[in-house]
Amino acid sequence: MQQLLFAIFTMVGGVLACVVYFFGTNFLLDRIFPSKGLTGAQASKNLRITNAIRPWLFMAPALIALSVYLVYPVFESVRLAFHDRTGQQFVGFSNFAWMINDGEFRQSIFNNFLWLLVVPALATFFGLIVAALTDRIWWGNIAKTLIFMPMAISFVGAAVIWKFVYDYRAEGSEQIGILNAIVVAMGGSPEAWMTIPFWNNFFLMVILIWIQTGFAMVILSAALRGIPEETIEAAVIDGANGFQIFFKIMVPQIWGTIAVVWTTITILVLKVFDIVLAMTNGQWQTQVLANLMFDWMFRGGGDFGRGAAIAVVIMILVIPIMIWNIRNATKEMEGH
């Protein structure tokens, strides 16, 4: 009971503090540089000042949090990447040199590219299809909830789930993995899916797609619902069928959101490690960068230098996406 009260109190307090900040600073800003009531040069001067300050007031908490929680660690990582395993001694590029010569690293890069090709595209695609189709049926919300479920399931749970899918028992004994059960039922012989090099990557990707489709679906569903109905009506009148409406009218209008979802999942793929860790820990040639990094960071005390160096590589891989986003944002601003 007491804990509950404490919990409620802290929750309300935390949220209130945040609200107070925004209202408070705004109030102060308007107080220090008043423009209401005032007219003339003073007002417009004050306004210009407030207009210059206000975006930063709005962004301040976010920017501070981002700097503390993300930018600072980035710099720290970069620093560590040039140091030895304890983070004490400067070693120059030797961590990177090691990396390039490391077979596992090269394997990870290759696998990561596979993941990047497959997962964002498929997860976004399925998410889009589900979001669009479920809007048209009465049990759409139920369907969505079911497809969203993998997202909500805890990671440990997901690992067990896929164990029950991919599990392999020797030929002849009863299969408890459904995939093998199906294969056997169809007359095939069971496979240890996780151990088939190259293809096992795809079996792992299936898991992430299975999870991330829910993400794509929710975001795209919100976007789809923002499409002006009239444009769809107009297309209906123009004689377009369901597919044409979907691909020629709806999809182009939410193109921006599709790109966002795709970007987000792409970045997530760069960071994905728990699936690999739980299913194979990079064995059977399924290693990916993030897992490799995790491995070097923490296994047996860790090697911060190499871990950080891999992290830096992951971060570098995102630069094209950043550039693409700058371009988009600039274009959009010209439009405004």
Binding site: Q3, A7, G14, V15, F22, R54, W56, F58, A62, L63, A65, L66, Y69, L70, Y72, P73, L133, N141, A143, K144, T145, I147, M149, M151, A152, I153, S154, V156, G157, A158, V160, I161, F164, V165, Q175, I176, I178, F215, V218, A222, A223, R225, G226, P228, E229, E233, G256, T257, T263, T264, K271, M293, M297, A311, M315, V318, I321, I326, A329, T330
Partner: protein, 381 residues
């Protein structure tokens, strides 16, 4: 809505959604059914077999010799292998290698003049001409058609675990502010990035996108060090709820800002302009126009942020601690699995217990993903 709901295509739609849903739920269904199964069955047979009557090879043990009674000069041990289960024995045996040597109902000669009979209903009888010795009962192998049987034991075990209620509250205490605060913070930031002109906007957006990629693991040590420093400096504990809220906020912000900005930038410009003409300041516009109109985006992000904070273990362990008082639900459940993480039956049940809250959140926020929020506001293309 368009009056086309009866087009023949709709069946295709129903079918495809059904197919997708089936594909997506099938794995989870496995988990659900598994969570309701007896723990020893999990590793032995596929979860789908639990749904139907299945023929299984089982091992039972007759009562110990001390339970024998003398009847007609013979010594008899009797009992029932199924112990009330609604199964049907078809065959039995007494040697592990020939578990189906005898049909149910027949008498098997088990040596020393003893006979063993197992009937269809599972009742058995060992008849011996001499008094039987030993402390352990005879093993009986039998094949039985076992109808599907489910149990809530796994759930009971999880729910009765010590401290689970407190952990539940801890999780909520973490997750709720860790969802609301970043949304608020991100929404303001997203608005500024979408609609307030200032130099460097595009770069800032890109940087935020770039920050999405920062691996969480990289930040933990520097941040905890910072927390310890701050804690020591102010003489407060380093691991507090505020600390973890802020941590979750920091990690969730890039995505929040990115999603929200994208959505806000798509709102019709005329609406904002008209508010501006109406004399509204940026703050008014944000609070009174943008926020209500961004509900779908806010809701979708809230769903995810809640989910992540709810299911998170790592951040909570590092920034809140792993002690008994502050342990979050995920931590508590993982601990239930024991040191070697073995107990799948616990795992399956706890997976479903943790999923409930996010699903409720999803369900309740889903209605904010509304259609036609902007309808009627502007005319034009």
């Amino acid at each position: 809505m368009i009056a086309t709901s009866r087009s023949p295509l709709i069946f295709v739609v129903h079918l495809s959604v059904l197919l997708l849903v089936a594909l997506w739920t099938l794995p989870t269904a496995g988990l659900l059914i598994s969570s309701l199964r007896d723990k020893d069955q999990l590793a032995v047979s596929g979860w789908w077999t639990a749904l139907s009557t299945s023929s299984q090879n089982l091992t039972g043990r007759a009562a110990a010799p001390e339970a024998q009674v003398e009847r007609d000069g013979k010594f008899v041990i009797s009992g029932n292998l199924l112990e009330g289960d609604d199964a049907k024995v078809s065959a039995f045996g007494f040697r592990p290698l020939q578990p189906t040597a005898f049909e149910a109902g027949t008498a098997a000669d088990i040596g020393d003049g003893q006979t063993l009979t197992v009937k269809e209903d599972g009742s058995y009888e060992i008849v011996s001409p001499t008094r039987m010795e030993g402390t352990r009962g005879q093993r009986i192998f039998y094949t039985a058609a076992v109808p599907s049987r489910f149990t809530l034991d796994n759930y009971r075990e999880v729910l009765n675990a010590e401290g689970i209620g407190a952990s539940f509250i801890n999780s909520l205490t973490v997750a709720i502010p860790a969802t609301i605060i970043p949304i608020l913070v991100a929404a303001f930031c997203a608005y500024a990035l979408a609609w307030m002109p200032f130099p460097g906007r595009a770069i800032l957006i890109a940087v935020i996108v770039g920050l999405l990629v920062v691996p969480l693991q990289m930040s933990l040590i520097p941040l905890l060090r910072l927390y310890n420093g701050v804690g020591a400096f102010f003489g407060v504990p380093a691991k507090t709820y505020v600390g973890i809220w802020l941590a979750h906020m920091g990690f969730g912000l890039p995505l929040a800002v990115y999603l929200l900005r994208n959505y806000m930038a798509g709102l019709p410009r005329e609406i904002l302009e008209s508010a501006r003409v109406d004399g509204a300041s940026d703050f008014d516009i944000f609070v009174k126009i943008i926020l209500p109109l961004s509900f779908p985006a806010l809701a979708s992000f809230a769903i995810f942020q809640f989910l992540w904070t709810w299911n998170d273990l790592l951040v909570a362990m590092v920034f809140l601690g792993a002690g008994n008082e502050e342990l979050v639900l995920t931590g508590r459940l993982v601990n239930l699995l024991g040191s070697r993480g073995g107990n799948w039956e616990i795992l399956t049940a706890s997976a479903f217990i943790t999923i409930i809250v996010p699903l409720v959140v999803f369900f309740s926020l889903q209605r904010y993903l509304v259609r036609g929020l902007l309808a009627g506001s502007v005319k034009g293309g």
